[in-house]
Symmetry: C2
Subunit: 244 residues, 2 copies
Amino acid sequence: MTMKTHPSAVALEETEAPDLPARALDDSSESEGEILHASIYQELRRRLFTGKITPGLGLSTRVLATELGVSQMPVRDALSRLAADGAIEIRSKRRIQVPAMTAARFDDLLQCRLLLEPQAARMAMPFIDSARLETLKKVDAQMDAAIQSGDVHGYMENNFAFHFTMYRALGRRTMNQLIETLWLQFGPYMRVVYGRFGTSNLVDQHAVALRAIETGDGEALERAIASDIADGMGLIGRNGLEPA
Amino acid sequence: MTMKTHPSAVALEETEAPDLPARALDDSSESEGEILHASIYQELRRRLFTGKITPGLGLSTRVLATELGVSQMPVRDALSRLAADGAIEIRSKRRIQVPAMTAARFDDLLQCRLLLEPQAARMAMPFIDSARLETLKKVDAQMDAAIQSGDVHGYMENNFAFHFTMYRALGRRTMNQLIETLWLQFGPYMRVVYGRFGTSNLVDQHAVALRAIETGDGEALERAIASDIADGMGLIGRNGLEPA
DNA sequence: GGACCTCTTTTGTGATCACAGAATACTCGC
DNA sequence: GCGAGTATTCTGTGATCACAAAAGAGGTCC
C-alpha cells in the first residue's frame, strides 16, 4: 500500500544477539546490511533464537512486510530460507507457522544438540582467548541476573550469547550452521515453556563451564555443556510436553 | 521470453534418489508435487547430492528458469532455500555459485559427518526391517558395479541411497535434515574428485555395515559407517585438496 | 436455536517489470 | 600488439499485479 520505490530505511536491529562486543569470525556477515532479504532473514532468526516468535503463531508475508516497511518479496525470501532451516512450516496455500513441538521432535532435537554442542565447545576451547572469556563471564552474570529477576527474554538472549560465543570462537562454519539450525527450532518453544513455568528452576551449569575453560580442561567443558543441555531441556521436557 | 501463464508441465524427475522402492517415512513429501518452487528445490537438491552440480559452476535464476520452463520466481525461492542450507553462495549482486572447497571446510564437514552419521546409523538399525535390508543389499550391489565400471554418477547415487535408506528408517526429521545439509555441501565436491581420480581406489565398507545389521551389532555398524566416511573422504582429502 | 451453506476476505504462489551493480566484451589510444 | 578505459550485457533484487485456494464470517433454512 503506497510504498513505491525502495523504502530503504528498515527498522532492523543488529543481526546478532545484543551486546556481543565483537562478532565472531566467519559468521555470515560481510556486507549483508545492504541486502534487504538478508537483513530480514537475520532479524527473524534473532526473533526465533530468543523466542520472540512463539510456536503456533501465524506469520504472514504481507503482515510482516508492512510491519518492516518493505514489500512481500524480501520477506518471502527470508521465510523461504527459514523454511529450509526447518524453523517454520510453509504449508502450501495455507498459513505459515512455527511447527508445533512434539515429544518425538523434542527428543530428536535434544539428541542432536548433545551430539554436536559438547564437542563443538571442546574443540572451540583452545580458541577462547581472554577477551572472549571476559565476554562469557559478563554474559553469564547477566544471565544469572535475568534468572533471578524472572526475565525470560533476558535469560534466553544471554544463554544464546553464551553458547555461541564459545562455538563461534572455533571458525567452523558448517558446525555452527548445524547448531544454529537446532536453536532455530527449539528457541520458540523454550520461550513458551519458560514463560509458563518461570526461570526459577534453572540451574546454571555455565559456572562449571567457565571454570573448565579457565583450567583448560576440555573434558570437563564437554561434560558441563552436555549437562547444561540435558538439564535445561530435561526440565522443559518433563514439564512442558504433553504426552504425544 | 514468451512464456505467459503458468507453463505447468515441468520436466522434473522424482525428488529422491532413483529406484528407492518406498520413500522413507517422515521426509518432506506430502503433496509437494504441486508447489513449483518446492519441486525445483528438490530437483536441485538431487543434483547437488549426486554431484550433477559441480563447484565453481555459475548458476543463474534466469538460465535455470528457462531450462525448467518456469519464471524466475520459483527458482529464486529454491535457491534461497539452498543458500540457507549452505549448499550455494549468493553473493549480493554478483553471481550464484557452489562455494569452493577449502581444506578447513573439508575438515569441518568431515568432522560433522563423523559426529552425526555413525550415531544415526546405530539408532536407525532397529528400524531396518527385512524390506529395507533387501534394498540396502541391492543398492550396495549396484554401487559395487558402478565402482567396477568406473561409473562415477552411478556410484554417487547408490552411495547416497545406501546411507539415507538407513538414516530414514529412523524417523528423526531434524537429524536427517542435518545430515542432508552436510551431503548437500560436499556432494558437488566429491563428484569432481571422483571424476578426476576415478572410483577404483574406493573400498566398500558397506559390506561390513550390512553384516553388522544382519547380526544386530550396533557398535559394529557404528564403526563401519565411521570407517566408510573416514575412508572415502580421507581418500579425497589426500588427493583432491590443494593446500589452502 | 443450531447446523449447514455461501460469500467475502486473506493467504501463499507465480509472473512480469524496473533498476542498480557487476562482469564481460569491445574499442581506442599508446 | 597490448593494456586501459568504456560500453553493453547479464545478474540478483525489489516491487507490483493476478490468481486460486483456504479460512472466517455471515446469513439462511430446518
